[in-house]
Subunit: 438 residues, 2 copies
C-alpha cells in the first residue's frame, strides 16, 4: 500500500474507569501534543467504554474522519480489555498469537517470578496483518495496523493505558511512523515566568498577545508560574516557523528579563527546578530543604529531575515539633511563636543548613488545611525561610489560596522562586511574589 | 414538553487547548462522575475544537445518542468561544440578550473596576428558548436548553471551562435538574487491593469478572495497586442495587482477604495511606521515613492526608551519602555494599527509627534512573527496609519497571504495602509483592 499522509488524527481513549469519571484521561493530551509537535492536527478526542460494539463503531467513525487513529487502553489481560478484538473486527481479520510478543511477555513474567497463564498469553494476540509494538516496561505490547476503510487507507496505533508504558512506546514506535503533510508546520514554544502577575505580564507583552496575531501567543497561570504559549502554524517551512517563534520569544525576553526562567516544554514547576539545579551546578553550590507542611513535596519536586544529586543533598521532614527540635529548632521559639512563624521558619532553615552542610537551605512551615486555621493564622498561611552560608537568613510570609494540595504545591514553587532570584543576584527581598503578604 | 428521563449522558469538552493537548480535560471526568452518582450512565466523552461546524455536528451526534448532553467550555468572551452559537444553531433559534445575565456580568465588572464592553456583553447572549445558569465565580453564565431533535427530546447543559466555575455551577444548577430513570439505579463501588498481580486477582474473582455479569466487575492496575470496580445498574431500587454490590464485595473480600485494604472512592495509593494511618492511630503507633531515591515522595504521599500528623512524625531525605552517614548509616556499609543495598536500607531504617523515636520506620534506597544503572544493579533496583521497635529489621529488593516517576511512585506504594501487611500481623516477609525479586 502506498505510503500515507497523516494530515489529521483522531485520539481515542478506552475504559469504563475513564467514561465513569473514576480516572482522568491524561493519555489523549499526551498523544495529541505529540502529534501537534510532529505537524499533525488532532480533530477530535473520544473516550469509549469497554464494550466491543462501541469500540468497533468508534474506530470506524474515527477512520472516516482521519487517516491516523491513535488509541490508548484496553490491551491488558482482563475480559474488559477489548481493543485487540475491536481492531480485528474493524480489519475483518482473525487474531493470531505473535511469537515474539509471547516470548517478551514470558520473559517479563519470569523476571517477576510469575507464571505464563492463558490470560497473560492473550496479550500476545494480534490481528493477522497487524504488527506488535514492543513494550519495554510492561507485558502488553502495542499494535499497529494499516486498514482500508471505504477505500481510504488508515493507520491505527493501539497503545497500553498506563502512561509509563504508553509514553515510551509512543516515542519509540509511533513517532517514527508519523507522516505529517510536507510543507506545513506547527511550532509551539512555551516560556515560563515567575514573580510577575498575569495582568502585568500581559501589558508587558503588549500586542504580542493579540488574538489575531501570528504567531499566536497565549498565557496560562498555574500555581504561581505563568506559561506563555507561542504557536505558529501554517504553510511555513519548519525553519520559517521557528524564526517567527524565535522573534516572539526574544521580544518576550526583552520585556520580562530574569522573570522568564525557562523556555521549552514541560510543566513550569519542573522547569523551575531544572533552572535552579543548573544555576547551583554552575556555581558549585548545594541545596538542602526542611519541610513541615509540605512533608517531602519540595524534595520530591527537586529529585524528580534526573541528576539532581549533583546539587541537592537532601533534607528533613520535620512534620512533628519533636522532629523540628531534634533538628535544632529552638524549643522556646516553638513555644513562644508557634510552629507556623517566621522565627521557626528561620530556625528550620538555619538548622538544616548546619546539619546538611549545604550552601543553601529552604524551609517551609505553614497550615495546609483544611483544619488547623486560626483567626491570626488562617489556612494557607505559610512561612518560608531561605538560609545561606555567611549571609543573614531571609523569611517571607504567604497566604495561599486553594485546597490543601494547592497550598502545598504553591509553597514549593514560592520557595524555589525565592532561591531562583537569590541565585540570579537580585536583592534578597525582591521581587515580591504572588500570594506574598509579608 | 413532558418531563424527560436522562437514562444516558454524553459529555463534551470544547477547546483547541484540549484538542492540541496543551490542557488536560479534567471537567469531563468530574461531570461523568456526578452523573454516575445521580444514576445516569455516561456513554461517551468527546473533545471538540473551537470550530462552529464541528461543535454543531458533535452536539447533534450526541443528541442522537443520549437525552442528556453536558458541555464544558466555549462560553467566554473571546472569538474562540462558540458554544452559544453552536447551541443556537442546533436549536434553530436566534441569540438574544438575557437581561438578568447582562446585569450580573456588569456587576462583576464593576466590582473588578472594569468597563462593560461589547465583548463582555456577548456572554449574556442565549438561544431564545434557553435559560441562563448563574455563575457565582465568573462572568460567563451557563446555559440550559431543551431541544427536540428527530422527534427525541434532549436536555443540553453548557458550563464554563474553568473548573472553579464549572463545579459549583454543576452542583447548584445541573444536579437538581438531572432526571435519572425512576426505579433504576447505578451503584459503583471501588475495592482497592495490594499484593496480588492483576491476572491472579482476576482468577481469584472468577466469574465475578465475566463481562456479562451483573453487577459488572472491572479491574484497573495502577502502580502496584489494583482497583476493582463493582457497578450495578438496571431496574433495581437503590437498596436492591446496593445489596447486589454488597454481595459482590463480600465475595471479593472472601477471595482476597487482607489484600483488599480499602473500599470506596479515591485513588488507591491515597486510600492505602489512609488505611495505614488508621491502623497506626488505632494502635497508638507512629511512623517515620528515610528516603533516598524517592527524595520526599513517600512523606508527601503520607502528609497529603489531613490529620496525618496524628501518626506520622516526619523523616529524612538522605539523598546524598553524606546525609545517610550523618543520620547514622555505617560508612563501611556504604563503602562495601554501596548506597543501593539491603545493608544500607537496613541502616537507614534503623537510624531513622532511633533518631525519630517512631515505632516504625520505612527506608527506601534505589536507582530511579534513567541514569545510574549497572549490570548488577539495573535501573529500577530498589531496596526497602522496615524497622520496628524491639523486632528485627526486614528488607526486600524490588526491580520496578517504568520511568523514573513510576519507579519512585511504585517504591512508595511497595513500602506502604510492606508496613500494611506488618500492621495486619502477617509474617514479616509475606506476601510477596509485585516487582519484588528478593
Amino acid at each position: 500500500m502506498a505510503d500515507l499522509v497523516h494530515h489529521r488524527v483522531v485520539v481515542i481513549s478506552t475504559g469504563d474507569e475513564i467514561i465513569t469519571g473514576q480516572l482522568i484521561d491524561t493519555n489523549s493530551a499526551y498523544i495529541a501534543d505529540g502529534c501537534v509537535r510532529a505537524g499533525i492536527l488532532p480533530v477530535e478526542h473520544r473516550s469509549i467504554p469497554d464494550e466491543l460494539s462501541a469500540l468497533v463503531d468508534a474506530f470506524r467513525a474515527a477512520a472516516s474522519r482521519a487517516p491516523l487513529v491513535i488509541i490508548s487502553g484496553g490491551l491488558g489481560p482482563t475480559d474488559g480489555d477489548l481493543t485487540r478484538q475491536a481492531l480485528a473486527e474493524v480489519l475483518s481479520e482473525e487474531l493470531v498469537i505473535d511469537g515474539a510478543a509471547r516470548a517478551a511477555i514470558s520473559d517479563i513474567l519470569v523476571r517477576r517470578g510469575r507464571p505464563m497463564t492463558a490470560r497473560q498469553e492473550r496479550q500476545a494476540l494480534r490481528p493477522r496483518s497487524a504488527t506488535c509494538l514492543p513494550n519495554q516496561l510492561g507485558t502488553a505490547p502495542g499494535l499497529h495496523a494499516r486498514a482500508s476503510i471505504n477505500g481510504a487507507a488508515v493507520d491505527f496505533f493501539c497503545l497500553p493505558g498506563p502512561p509509563g508504558e504508553l509514553r515510551p512506546m509512543f516515542e519509540r514506535e509511533v513517532e517514527p511512523r508519523l507522516r505529517p503533510p510536507p510543507g506545513t508546520s506547527i511550532i509551539t514554544r512555551l516560556l515560563h515566568i515567575v514573580g510577575v502577575a498575569e495582568a502585568d505580564c500581559v501589558s508587558r507583552l503588549g500586542d504580542l498577545t493579540r488574538r489575531d496575531g501570528s504567531p499566536l501567543v497565549g498565557i496560562t497561570a498555574s500555581g504561581g508560574i505563568l506559561t506563555v504559549r507561542i504557536r505558529c502554524e501554517g504553510a511555513f517551512s519548519r525553519e520559517a516557523a521557528n524564526a517567527l517563534v524565535d522573534q516572539a520569544e526574544s521580544r518576550a525576553r526583552a520585556e520580562l528579563g530574569d522573570h522568564l526562567f525557562a523556555s521549552g516544554d514541560g510543566p513550569g514547576a519542573r522547569r523551575l527546578v531544572q533552572t535552579l539545579l543548573g544555576l547551583l551546578k554552575e556555581s558549585g553550590q548545594t541545596l538542602a530543604v526542611v519541610e513541615s507542611c509540605t512533608g517531602g513535596m519540595l524534595g520530591q519536586f527537586i529529585t524528580d529531575i534526573p541528576g539532581s544529586s549533583a546539587a541537592f543533598l537532601g533534607g528533613y521532614q520535620t512534620y512533628a515539633n519533636t522532629m523540628k527540635e531534634s533538628l535544632g529548632v529552638d524549643p522556646a521559639d516553638l513555644r513562644t511563636f508557634g510552629a507556623v512563624s517566621p522565627q521557626v521558619a528561620r530556625g528550620m532553615a538555619e538548622a538544616g543548613l548546619v546539619r546538611s552542610g549545604a550552601d543553601w537551605c529552604l524551609a517551609v512551615t505553614g497550615i495546609a488545611g483544611p483544619e488547623g486555621g486560626t483567626d491570626t493564622k488562617p489556612v494557607g498561611t505559610v512561612h518560608i525561610g531561605l538560609a545561606r552560608r555567611s549571609a543573614p537568613t531571609h523569611t517571607r510570609r504567604f497566604l495561599f489560596t486553594g485546597d490543601r494540595q494547592d497550598v502545598r504545591a504553591r509553597s514549593c514553587v514560592s520557595a524555589m522562586a525565592m532561591l531562583y532570584f537569590a541565585l540570579r543576584h537580585h536583592p534578597i527581598a525582591e521581587p515580591r511574589l504572588l500570594w506574598q503578604v509579608g
